[in-house]
């Protein structure tokens, strides 16, 4: 019985090493190929994520907005964009209403020094171009 177990163990370990080497070799080859492509591609074109919109949006923000511009993002959530554009800051507001408006505290925009509002990927508005309706202690933000 032990003799068979011994043979099985040796076979399994040899097979595991061969299989691992095969997959690592295959992966290394494709990695090397993508590295060569990547090295010769301008940074703007280097897309790693499937979320192409997020990446494009990050690049647009980095390209067109000043370094110290803070952004209010309604209602999308993107941690990728957060990462890419830092130290520019994005403040996320989730409670988007059906009439495409958002109600927030009155001093929110000034205390966070928000210069831009992003309603969706690529739809970026300067704070001076959006409509802000005063309603007591809150303000309602909407697109013009």
């Amino acid at each position: 019985m032990n003799k068979y177990i011994r043979v099985i163990i040796i076979f399994l370990i040899a097979a595991q090493l061969v299989m691992s080497s095969y997959y690592i070799g295959k992966w290394s080859y494709s990695m090397l190929r993508s590295y060569l492509v990547y090295r010769n591609t301008p940074r703007v074109e280097r897309i790693f994520t499937t979320a192409r919109e997020e990446y494009d949006c990050s690049l647009a923000i980095m390209k067109y907005l000043p370094q110290d511009a803070n952004i209010l993002w309604i209602p999308a959530v993107s941690h990728m964009v957060n990462y890419y554009i830092y130290p520019r800051k994005i403040y996320h507001i989730k409670d988007f209403r059906e009439d495409e408006t958002i109600e927030i505290d009155k001093d929110f925009l000034s205390s966070r020094k928000i210069g831009y509002v992003l309603f969706d990927y690529g739809k970026l508005f300067s704070i001076s171009d959006i409509q802000i309706i005063d309603s007591g202690s809150k303000v309602i933000i909407t697109r013009r």
């Binding site: 691992s20 690592i24 992966w27 830092y86 130290p87 929110f108």
Partner: protein, 472 residues
């Protein structure tokens, strides 16, 4: 100059770790060269992060000058031992002498070349691409970026809930190490910072080999084979989320956990306080690198039950990690809990009732992932199950110490149960699909205890073969 600062930043981890090791173990009696280099790196990474944490708690901004000043005592300790010639790690004569003595032949030489090749591939994979996978950017590296730019966590990126920073309260060990490199370099470098992960991989290769040779007293060929099997698991290379080059934190966590348990076992066997201090420090790093570290720390405490003459070791192992990580828990309490993936939040009566019928599906996906996903695992799970089944065989199990069995196999089953429960009860909004199952958490959660399990299997198979040879 830029690359010189980069090399200095890496050397600082080793110098800090080596200085701490020297302070713990004045006589250097219990560690050989490989072990000292590995310990220096592991301790260095953890201590550098903890020192930055304490500085943040004291409201000291994490600038390059401040960090270098904070690490100055470690340079002085290192310089003192270099001057007094008590340092063995950086004695080239000692290392070259050892290399000359190795004398590898045949299969051993082939396996050594194979392991060197794996390390080189990993080094290239880490340094040739920037941080690309989802959580690595959105969670871990984002924290590193914030700390680098703001020099602290006391800013609205961490404290303002509208910043919507995912998993704000996740432990900061790796982000602090990453921001440490950024601070020394003077800028964010998404490529060079990944050297940390490559060095973890190389350290683990050396550590697994050394543990088998030195602690388990196994043969050189046997140790090389099982080191190769353990570190060549395809998912460590090929998976998008959770592999070593993906810069997820799971791999460094697995390294620290393996390190902790091996030193705990060493202490229980030799009753040398140096080992329990190293294990306790490493346990503290486990807690400070990932939330799961706390649970595994609690599991490992149970190993002291029934042991004799371990009171001093138990107190050190219990209190040192708690004392070292208390500032982290104090800091963490200040962060707002938003968008935090706290699984207990989902543990409601309705979710539990909805989750039970999923058991069959989760089991099916688990088994398929383990045994049919050859691209990620090869035949590893067949080997693991075969070996665990073998351990119940009467004449084989007798060779395995109960401590090794408890510390290697129990955490593995703990993860098995936890992952099953997560997919059954804690993800109520969507039924798990195959893609989610294999592409997100399966590999990386299983990897936490994998290397320890492989050490156990190596020990067990060696015992089985030895037993057979004796019988012959």
């Amino acid at each position: 100059m830029y690359y010189l600062w980069f090399i200095i930043s890496i050397l600082l981890f080793f110098i800090t770790g080596n200085a701490v090791l020297k302070l713990i173990d004045h006589k250097y009696r219990y560690h050989n060269t490989i072990e000292r280099v590995v310990i220096s790196y592991f301790l260095g990474v953890g201590i550098v992060a903890l020192i930055q944490l304490y500085a943040m708690c004291c409201r000291i901004p994490l600038t390059k000058t401040n960090i270098l000043l904070l690490l100055l005592p470690f340079f002085i300790v290192q310089a003192y031992f270099c001057v007094t010639k008590k340092n063995i790690v950086f004695k080239s004569k000692s290392i070259s002498h050892r290399i000359g003595q190795i004398g590898l032949h045949g299969k051993e030489a082939v396996l050594t070349v194979y392991l060197v090749l794996l390390c080189l591939i990993m080094l290239f994979a880490c340094l040739s691409f920037p941080i690309y996978s989802y959580d690595a950017r959105a969670v871990w590296s984002f924290k590193a970026k914030i700390i680098f730019y703001q020099h602290s966590v006391f800013n609205d990126d961490f404290l303002d809930q509208y910043r919507f920073h995912p998993n704000t309260a996740y432990p900061l060990l790796m982000p602090l190490c990453q921001s440490f490199i950024y601070n020394i370099l003077g800028s964010v470098d998404e490529y060079l910072v990944k050297i940390l992960f490559a060095l973890f991989y190389i350290s683990l290769v050396l550590f697994i080999y050394h543990t088998q040779r030195d602690f388990f007293s196994l043969g050189r060929l046997h140790s090389l084979i099982f080191t190769a099997v353990s570190v060549s698991v395809p998912f460590l290379f090929v998976i998008f989320s959770g592999s070593v080059p993906s810069a997820y934190i799971d791999f460094p966590f697995a390294c620290f956990y393996t390190f902790t348990v091996v030193y705990l076992l060493k202490y229980l066997r030799e009753h040398n306080l140096v080992h329990i201090i190293i294990a306790a420090l490493s346990a503290a790093f486990c807690i400070f690198i990932k939330n799961e570290g706390g649970v595994l720390f609690l599991i490992s405490l149970a190993i002291f039950i029934g042991e004799k003459k371990v009171a001093k070791g138990f107190i050190i192992y219990l209190l040192l990690p708690i004392a070292l990580t208390l500032p982290w828990f104090w800091l963490r309490a200040k962060f707002p809990v938003i968008y935090d993936s706290n699984p207990l939040h989902f543990l409601t009566f309705t979710n539990v009732m909805q989750g039970f019928p999923r058991f069959g599906l989760v089991m099916k996906l688990t088994l398929r992932e383990m045994f049919l996903n050859l691209r990620s695992w090869g035949l590893l799970w067949v080997i693991i199950f075969f070996s665990v089944a073998l351990s119940f065989k009467k004449d084989c199990y007798s060779h395995i110490n109960r401590r090794e069995y408890y510390l290697c196999v129990i955490p593995f089953f703990y993860y098995f149960i936890v992952v099953t429960f997560i997919y059954m009860f804690f993800a109520p909004l969507k039924v798990p699909t195959e893609i989610e199952f294999s592409g997100t958490s399966f590999e990386r959660l299983r990897s936490h205890t994998l290397f320890l399990l492989m050490l156990f299997i190596s020990l067990q198979i060696s015992a089985f073969f030895r037993k057979k040879e004796t019988a012959d």
